[in-house]
């Protein structure tokens, strides 16, 4: 009988704190974690990695899987390149953005377009974890024995329309972002998993100019 009561209570309690993802517990020392994350990102001058992106469309029970390679170099240089099953490249070089699609290169001024600006912010902060300090999101911190999980809930109305929460999975060993999950107001989501990550390898600036 006691067991049943305990079960009911624990179910009730867990439903109150339903925000805590299964297998994780809340981080107690959030300031310490944030500080450590910032210290680590200061040590990084460049990142190179493969990525696998999965877009889940709930109505179709369908996953669109795309793969590619990305490069990041301080300050504000990013090359995000899909190689499978399509060829598509986005490169950000400070305030310029390049898109190469079907062999055709288009060049944009990031500040000229609100959408490009938010793409830039999103991609940059995803890669180097600076999204934590972004005032447009309310962060919550969780952890298990291997990973930190940071949940960022958008506060701006515009962002809320198409984004319910962003989850950043951070490896405890080196504070690297290993997975990002963007959950939409429906049940659709996009995950990006990073593999073969190398940091502080020399990357030529040429890589961030697309011709």
């Amino acid at each position: 009988m006691n067991k049943i009561i305990t079960l009911i209570i624990s179910l009730f309690v867990s439903s109150i704190f339903a925000q805590v993802p299964a297998g994780y517990k809340a981080v107690k020392e959030t300031d310490g974690f944030k500080q450590k994350m910032e210290e680590q990102s200061k040590l990084i001058n460049s990142i190179e990695s493969d990525f696998t992106q999965e877009k889940y469309l709930s109505v179709m029970s369908e996953k669109i899987i795309t793969k590619g390679h990305f490069l990041f170099k301080k300050v504000n240089m990013l090359r995000w390149e899909y190689t499978e099953p399509l060829k598509y490249l986005i490169a950000i070089n400070k305030d310029k953005m390049f898109i190469k699609d079907n062999g055709k290169v288009s060049k944009y001024d990031i500040n000229s377009n609100k959408m490009f600006k938010s793409i830039n912010e999103m991609m940059m902060s995803t890669v180097n974890g600076t999204l934590l300090n972004n005032k447009d999101y309310q962060p919550s911190y969780f952890e298990n024995d291997k990973l930190y999980l940071i949940e960022l809930t958008p506060l701006q109305k515009g962002a809320k329309d198409f984004l319910k929460v962003i989850q950043l999975y951070v490896q405890k060993t080196d504070y690297a972002v290993v997975k990002v999950k963007m959950i939409e107001p429906g049940d659709d989501y996009t995950t990006i998993e990073f593999t073969n990550r190398k940091t502080n390898q020399p990357i030529s600036d040429e890589k961030f100019i697309v011709k």
């Binding site: 877009k55 109505v59 898109i99 288009s106």
Partner: protein, 210 residues
Amino acid sequence: MKNLLLNSFIIILISSCSLGHYGKLKKVNTIKDSLPHSIFGENFNSFLFKTNIRVYGKEYSGLLVTKQMEPNDYRVIFTTELGMKLFDFQFKDSTFTLHYCVPQFNRAALLNTIQKDIEVLLMNNLKTHSSSVYTDAKNTTNIIKIDFGKTQNYYFINQEQKQLIKIEQAKKNRKKTTFTLGNYIDNFPNNILIQHHDIKLKIELNLLKK
């Protein structure tokens, strides 16, 4: 005299416009199967296309997924390469439902045109309209005409491979939109080009996966 010349010139011009394109087709009554087969078939699989939509100088690029959910129920979703959903359409029987759409696409004229174009490609509900079969002058292509009342669709099927290579949508005998279907692999056109002639809209679909 001058007026007469001008008038006859105009008459010739008008008549050549209206007859020009479809006037040369020969009607045949020997072909029994007078409905084109749907390119997507009845298979409940999904099809993933790299898609570019060019409309009045603006370009939208992304991934388009089509999936048959049930007989006569199709879902079509367009997302950016980065995963952001741009629109979500449902075509069930003869009812269209817009489930989602970003503000950039939320313009009635544009949405309506894209919806109609996808409807043509899905080739749903053709049975309920009257059809007739023609051949071209060289007798290499069969052309099935389906009359939707205000518009007519012409389905061009090459006789040798029995592949649907083109769909033309016409209004008052004038070509409005051309759908070119090419690069057939496993009986499916891997490249589809939708070109509008009366507005600046071009949609390119290249199959990535099915």
